[in-house]
């Protein structure tokens, strides 16, 4: 803060251009490291990476809504639930095992539901948007929980092992998940990451950012606020559905907890932990969350206390999240010469 004049002269240009290039590269760098992981890491560590990938994909979408458009959804777990239950219904009730079909159907179902609920939700902003999405999420959860004959109630539904690219994979569950499935979803993660990068850098992404900064001004210069917000909602739901499908195949189970509101809270937690202001932030948050939760659960049964405490401290002292804080520190160093 002491050399404010220098700060104003130099870094803003740097700050604006640096994340433009770093965001995607950080993500792809992370994915590149993960392609090497099966060579060195234990099967347990690889199994941990699968929920990370699922959550990361969901959060890429979530952050289009939260970070880019400025809409905080507290019911986003609904789309993870939709993806998971689509996979469960197709595999165990209809015998459809092709993973590609599962993903496409999950994306389609989530997108359609988002189109309907979003048309109502995106008319509101701020806390009202959060509450309406929460209400829809809980509506879906209580449907899952109570309609035992369709959804299996609190028992959930089994998700059978899918075929990848039409091929059947033999061997144990762990071998399947850490082998072909791992590479498959990692590739998917990379492709969806690049797609989201293109979306966020497109004119559409700029419209969303303009809406976040000042909806009134954006409308004045011709941004169609309702349609743009709805489109962002649908895209984020599709990513959520795909993420949910991956989570469900990983655990082999779709259960109502996936759609419960505390799960939505966890998604927000991950996004803020990594830093919702940056492109790769939420993925980093998902990684940190999954690793932290696994670590804390292994040492104490009171892991919720620790996670809650981390969240409180995070909000109080590190509101930009991990990636935001690193960026600030980097900029400060550069500004200070």
């Amino acid at each position: 803060m002491s050399n404010q004049s220098i700060d104003i002269a130099g870094p803003p240009a740097v700050r604006r251009s640096m994340p433009r290039f770093s965001g995607l590269w950080v993500l792809l760098g992370l994915i590149a490291i993960m392609t090497m992981m099966p060579l060195v890491a234990s099967p347990y560590a690889l199994l941990l990476m699968l929920p990370f990938i699922g959550y990361s994909i969901a959060l890429l979408g979530f952050n289009l809504l939260f970070g880019t458009t400025g809409l905080l959804s507290f019911g986003h777990a609904m789309f993870l639930g939709l993806g998971a239950y689509t996979a469960a219904t197709l595999t165990s009730k209809f015998g459809v095992l092709s993973f590609e079909v599962l993903l496409l159907t999950a994306a389609l179902v989530s997108g359609l539901v988002a189109l309907l609920t979003g048309a109502l939700c995106v008319r509101y902003t701020r806390i009202f948007f959060g509450m309406l999405t929460l209400a829809f999420g809980m509506l879906f959860h209580s449907f899952l929980f109570k309609f035992y004959s369709i959804t299996g109630g609190d028992q959930g539904m089994r998700v059978l092992r899918p075929l990848l690219l039409g091929m059947e994979w033999r061997g144990g569950k762990t071998a399947f998940l850490t082998g072909p499935f791992y590479y498959y979803v990692l590739t998917l993660f990379a492709l969806l990451g690049i797609a989201m990068w293109r979306i966020s850098q497109s004119p559409f992404g700029l419209h969303l950012r303009a809406i976040r900064e000042n909806a009134g001004k954006a409308a004045y210069v011709g941004v169609e606020i309702f349609r743009m917000r709805l489109a962002a909602f649908v895209v984020s739901a599709i990513y959520g559905g795909v993420g949910g499908t991956i989570l469900a195949v990983t655990t082999g189970l779709a259960d109502p907890e996936l759609a419960y509101w505390t799960h939505s809270g966890n998604l927000v937690f991950m996004a803020v932990l990594g830093g919702s202001g940056t492109f790769a932030g939420p993925a980093i948050g998902a990684l940190a969350f999954v690793l932290l939760q696994d670590f804390v659960m292994s040492i104490t049964q009171y892991w919720r206390f620790v996670m809650g405490g981390v969240l409180v401290l995070l909000v109080l002292f590190m509101p930009q999240g991990l990636s935001g804080t690193i960026e600030v520190l980097a900029n400060r160093r550069r500004g200070g010469r």
Partner: protein, 293 residues
């Protein structure tokens, strides 16, 4: 007819408790503009502490008939934890809503394990006192007298709270701070004291609600997160920040649930959320709320 009375009475009992928690939520939202997800934890805290307080009171030789006042006092006393919590929340009043929601979500998670540590993971019940006051006949339906006591107590608290906010000097200051904090401070009001008071009272409403409900059921680890969404439903239906809204919203949610349980149990919570969605679509500000922000 008897079935209808049963539903209305059962629903009103639930509504009476729900109102207390929702009123706490409304008070804090009205003044501090924070949606407090930890309100469910206060409710659960009141329930657990109520059990402990009553069992201590009985072991000290207090007659079982005294358990109702014991519960109220226990609820009020443990509600004082709101004071230190407000100290933490104080730092984020001017921050974005997402952070306020998240920090209270963090508190909710922490509280859940505090309960697990202090009272264990299995649900705790309070035995042998629920029917200590016997049962009463209302329009041909037998109800525990305790339920009627709780309904009366909740109504009394509602009226007292209304009188406090409308008629007393401090109440007027609270309303002024809610309306415009900076202006109130400009007029020489210490807003931080008002905030501490309001949050503590809001917390007490939750803990008293929890203490009053526990004789009829059990205190469990899930009750906090479950009640959060229910009291959310109440404030959304009634309108954020409105006390009247909390009362009407609690009645709607309480009776709706009781009706659904006796007619179609699958629709228990579904019906509540349906009402929420319909209200938000038709009147986004809720029945008694001001225009949506």
């Amino acid at each position: 007819m008897a079935g209808l009375v049963d539903v209305v009475l059962g629903g009103t009992f639930h509504a009476a408790v729900l109102f207390l928690v929702a009123a706490g939520l409304q008070l804090v939202f009205g003044v501090q503009k924070i949606v407090n997800l930890a309100c469910g934890s206060f409710y659960a805290l009141g329930a657990y502490f109520g059990i402990t307080a009553v069992s201590i009171a009985i072991s000290l030789g207090m007659p079982p008939l005294m358990f109702f006042p014991v519960l109220i006092v226990a609820g009020l006393a443990i509600g004082l934890v709101g004071f230190p919590i407000e100290r933490v929340l104080r730092t984020i009043y001017r921050r974005d809503e997402s952070y306020q929601l998240l920090i209270t979500f963090g508190l909710l998670l922490m509280f859940q394990d505090v309960f697990r540590f202090l009272w264990g993971a299995t649900p705790r019940t309070m035995d042998n006192v629920y029917l200590a006051y016997g049962t009463a006949h209302v329009l041909g339906v037998r109800v525990p007298t305790y339920n009627l006591l709780v309904i009366t107590a909740s109504l009394a608290i509602a009226l007292g709270l209304g009188a406090f906010l409308e008629r007393t000097k401090i109440g007027r200051i609270v309303r002024a701070t809610a309306e415009n904090r900076d202006m109130a401070e400009g007029l020489g009001i210490d807003a931080s004291k008002i905030f501490a008071l309001v949050f503590t009272v809001g917390c007490m409403l939750g803990t008293v609600g929890g203490a009053l409900v526990v004789p009829s059921g059990a205190a469990s680890l899930d009750m906090a997160v479950e009640l959060v969404v229910e009291s959310f439903a109440v404030v959304v239906i009634g309108g954020l920040g409105s006390m009247r809204g909390a009362l009407v919203g609690a009645l709607i949610v309480g009776v709706m649930r009781a009706a659904a349980i006796s007619l179609m149990p699958e629709l228990e919570m579904l019906s509540v959320y349906l009402v929420v969605v319909v209200v938000l679509i038709v009147r986004p500000a809720g029945l008694f709320g001001k225009a949506a922000a």
